[in-house]
Point group: C2
Chain length 242, copies 2
């Protein structure tokens, strides 16, 4: 099976959570947004595919994954589908339901991270909502950032004897997503994270472990891995960093 990922080129964004799973598993996939337009790729092709009504199923936003005859939108939905197929989630229903719940908590966390720099609206420039962003980021750094990270630390701590993994006794797609969130937070809020990380040793150890996975580490140092930048979810504005 060759998967097709539809996501905007140029930013890691939400598409990167899907890429990490595909890359970690060494899956065969086409990153349509990154292809040249004369090969049927680019942002135009992404937009056309997502909003098209060919399948009777227009999607609201990317990422969207095409897997044979199935077309799937939303990161948590895509990862839930890929998990069993890529060996990135345990077999039993209880673990899968737990994994999906954790992924949806990460989804909420990512939305809050995004809104630190866009608290009024995504259609406005950062510069036109900078005062509100400073205020929202202050609450985020003081309250929400520790609340979410302490939560994941606790999930790891109570996973008796398996604190290297969020779900059960093995690596899963949720570990990959937490890796991406923490890595993004280090880029966006380096001062706040430097203060917080000593208090979340299990989270930090998980991020280290994930970064050293053989297939994934080759991807992370390749040209395919997009750097964090000022167009995505995780943006570094020093004035928002505590």
């Amino acid at each position: 099976m060759t998967y097709e990922l539809y996501y905007w080129p140029g930013i890691p964004g939400r598409g990167e959570f899907v890429r990490l799973a595909l890359e970690d598993a060494g899956a065969d996939y086409i990153d349509v947004g990154k292809r040249s337009s004369d090969k049927g790729g680019g942002a135009g092709a992404v937009s056309e595919f997502i909003h098209g009504s060919d399948l009777g199923q227009p999607h609201f936003a990317p990422p969207v994954l095409k897997a044979g005859g199935l077309v799937i939108s939303h990161v948590a939905n895509i990862l839930q589908f890929l998990g069993p197929r890529l060996g990135l989630v345990p077999e039993d229903e209880s673990a899968r339901v737990w994994a999906n719940g954790l992924q949806l908590t990460l989804t909420d966390f990512v939305a809050e991270i995004h809104d630190t720099h866009h608290p009024i609206g995504s259609s406005l420039y950062y510069e036109d909502q900078q005062d509100e962003a400073k205020r929202r980021a202050r609450v985020f750094v003081q309250e929400r950032l520790p609340k979410f990270l302490y939560y994941f630390e606790r999930v790891l701590a109570v996973n008796a004897g398996n604190e290297a993994y969020l779900v059960g006794t093995a690596h899963s797609y949720v570990d990959l997503s937490l890796f991406q969130v923490v890595t993004g937070l280090r880029y966006a809020f380096p001062r706040a994270m430097e203060r917080l990380e000593p208090e979340i040793p299990a989270v930090t150890a998980l991020v280290d472990r994930v970064s050293q996975r053989p297939t994934l580490s080759a991807y992370l140092t390749s040209d395919r891995r997009l750097d964090f930048n000022q167009g995505g979810i995780f943006r570094h504005y020093p004035e928002l960093d505590g």
Copy 2:
């Protein structure tokens, strides 16, 4: 199976999306938060159950559903689990993946609706972020509200011959959730909705149809159905209503 729903008493909130599915199907369930504390209910019991580490699975926030040995958090995760068991989603994988994707778009929509009155932080009073709320609500009413509602209108329009349903040819939990969102929006933004609704006739017709379902309509007019109020996701502040 007697399900146990753990959610804060006093507000419809995110718990109501789960209640609508249970009530529509006539399922047997205990609404733990609404029980008196001497019967093991109330907000304290909800908080204790959710954050407890008895099962090695602390949850981030309610709603949480206990279904036999399974404990499930997040609305979309709970509805995905209940859907097949309550006859509220078609059998085939393609339809279930599509239903979950639509539900996750509603999840995002609900978060944006909430943030119109709390754009800076949930821990602050509305009155302490009213200026920012006015600005965010203006962008929401002008851009995001129509974008989301036109999207669901389009989903219905392209569901050839079945524009009464979001998923396939039958009533599903996603229809119930869209009903709840539109009903909440009518409470929170009556002026904006009065202007918009003529442009989304299929959405409006779906909401009417859902409100007339026999078992559900009895619930909607019962004491169990909580009114929208100023403590939940959908709040009516006239100054935010376009």
